[in-house]
Amino acid sequence: MEKSRPLWANPLQFVFACISYAVGLGNVWRFPYLCQMYGGGSFLVPYFVMLIVEGMPLLYLELAVGQRMRQGSVGAWKTISPYLGGVGLASVVVSFFLSMYYNIINAWAFWYLFHSFQDPLPWSVCPLNDNHTGYDEECEKASSTQYFWYRKTLNISPSIQDSGHVQWEPALCLVLAWLVVYLCILRGTQSTGKVVYFTALLPYCVLMIYLVRGLTLHGATNGIAYMFTPKLEQLANPKAWINAATQIFFSLGLGFGSLIAFASYNEPSNNCQKHAVIVSLINTSTSIFASIVTFSIYGFKATFNYESCLNKVILLLTNSFDLEDGFLTASNLEQVKGYLASTFPGKYSEVLPQMRNCSLQSELATAVQGTGLSFIVYTEAIKNMEVSQLWSVLYFFMLLMLGIGSMLGNTAAILTPLTDSKVISSHLPKEAISGLVCLVNCVIGLVFTMESGNYWFDIFNDYAATLSLLLIVLVETIAVCYVYGLRRFESDLEAMTGRGLNWYWKAMWAGMSPLLIVSLFVFYLSDYILTGTLQYQAWDAFQGQLVTKDYPPYALAVIGLLVASSTMCIPLVALGTFITRCLKRGDTPPAA
């Protein structure tokens, strides 16, 4: 008797699993950046258009394929066409790369979480230098939050060539992160189904709390006004539309095989169309929600820095001209500056180079994304709040939930094809397979805990998934529409769920979405070719800031390998299947 496939206990678990996977760190740290770069409120227009034209149809396609084929990505695409097993394999390879480097973020979140239980927070004060007369030099030149991130957490080396050795503290946190992931995926859907209740819902609770706290902070309205003021001229900028499309694409996690894996555990009669629409809408609204929180925090931080800058200028002038203490305030600063310039021109010109131009706009305009946003900008804002330990703990706990939720999807994409394959699952129980996958990923992930680890992390983050995913999803769409046949798929879905397929989905799958993906692909390739050499940001400890450097040849080789290893799966497996079939046909002579 065939062992029945494990199922989600109820459809809600499936929806939560998809939300937990799709709503990840990108919603928190990439979307606000894009919003700020491409016109604030007006960025929402291309974003919504791309959601409806590209996001929802492709999400529905993946869920439908998974639910219909009831197998992981490798098996599903093999069923659609034996030549397309490579698509599934490419998805598994990309998911493997992703899970390798993604969990280091959870390790960093654990590190910051554990350090949040101290008073004062370790990133709020600079450590003293050797003779206790001042602060550490690197910390003075940069800021205490940057110092804590680059020196204490990463212990970053000056360039990617200086590898250094494995740092035991982040390594311990990485091991813990993998243990937690293993705990959640140990029992398959049984354990994952219960964990996703937490990983899906808790981030929203924390975001709500942060929204209330953020909006009541001094200066928060500056940030929100800055974000939502639409700059309509950006709508004409093609980069805004391209970035909106890319963001939707990666935010929903298409092409990794995780969605196919999740949907394969569904009841065949599940209404995946409704779920696709719900998940994509929730993902988008979470992005917008997180942006509001982020921008109120930005506004607070910018206002705080602006006021500190003003206070420094006031102190400088007061000391240089021996003015009465408390006479200079922010309101009369300009007047007094003018008066001093005219009355003591010599002395004023001496002091002038030391005076920084304080501008609220320039503070707000510092757009940051990625780890810089979470671990530097947010921590800087948190250290200035009251009861900063509480806010810090809440924030990093939320990051952990988001990160682990996404990891569950990534590992499901790898494990489902492995457990589906009869060869492997007959020899090893499910727990052992999961354990092996986690172990291998953990050992490879130790590379990111080295001193140059952050530079390798950036390589993986920028290049491991981008081009490959576009190609994978393009082949997926073409496979379903033209190789399998859109009519055949439509009748399959109707038989399975009892509902027909709307003309809108058919039009998008067959026409619009492939065109869009091709244009994205062309844009990315041309961008890579035009930029010439690839560069990266390295931390210079002496200057206390980031500098741009070129990648060495072996790093470029690794980048090429990353992209090639996943994209080449598709043609190689197709070729391999073709050859095996030819050989089989050659062996068995045709019946007379």
Partner: protein, 222 residues
Amino acid sequence: MLCLLFFLVTAIHAELCQPDAENAFKVRLSIRTALGDKAYAWDTNEEYLFKAMVAFSMRKVPNRETTEISNVLLCNVTQRVSFWFVVTDPSKNHTLPAVEIQSAIRMNRNRINNAFFLNDQTLEFLKIPSTLAPPTDPSMPIWIIIFSVIFCIVIVAVMLLILSGIRQRRRKSKGPSEVDDTEDKCENMITIENGIPCDPLDTKGGHINDAFMTEDERLTPL
């Protein structure tokens, strides 16, 4: 003659205490920044207290126990509030070396600050760096404690899940061999549900199922 001497003394005084003079230090106070509404005005009485504190600090230095308040000279008091001071020796002819004054002030910085309700940032002695308080380092970093706790909890949970999974699988593999025994037992066992015995449907043919009410009782009598 006396007038000339007096004139000479004040002239020498003026020379000893001057901005950027040898062995002179500039002091800067930010009273309003520190105390806000409770700020006091800086007058000659406060200056007297300052002179007394400096003399007190110098008295703690070996060989300088005879320093008097009159040995401390203040000059160039501005609105800021800032001024320069020097400490002269008992003969009042030359000033004490800067190094001695510096170490004396550093030793007693806290007492001087407290006398004026100020701190190192609001009562500044330019060119005398203050000793910063070393951060309190606990013997074991706190983060390791929390890490160990969570690590142990996760390991225990993983072990429990793995062990229960193994036990479940052993029970299942024993299951098929026990099925024949249980089938015999079934015939002797009568399952009871809701207080009414349920009999297997086909083993005892024609038996009334008590779970259902009899026809007569179901219909209410007219």
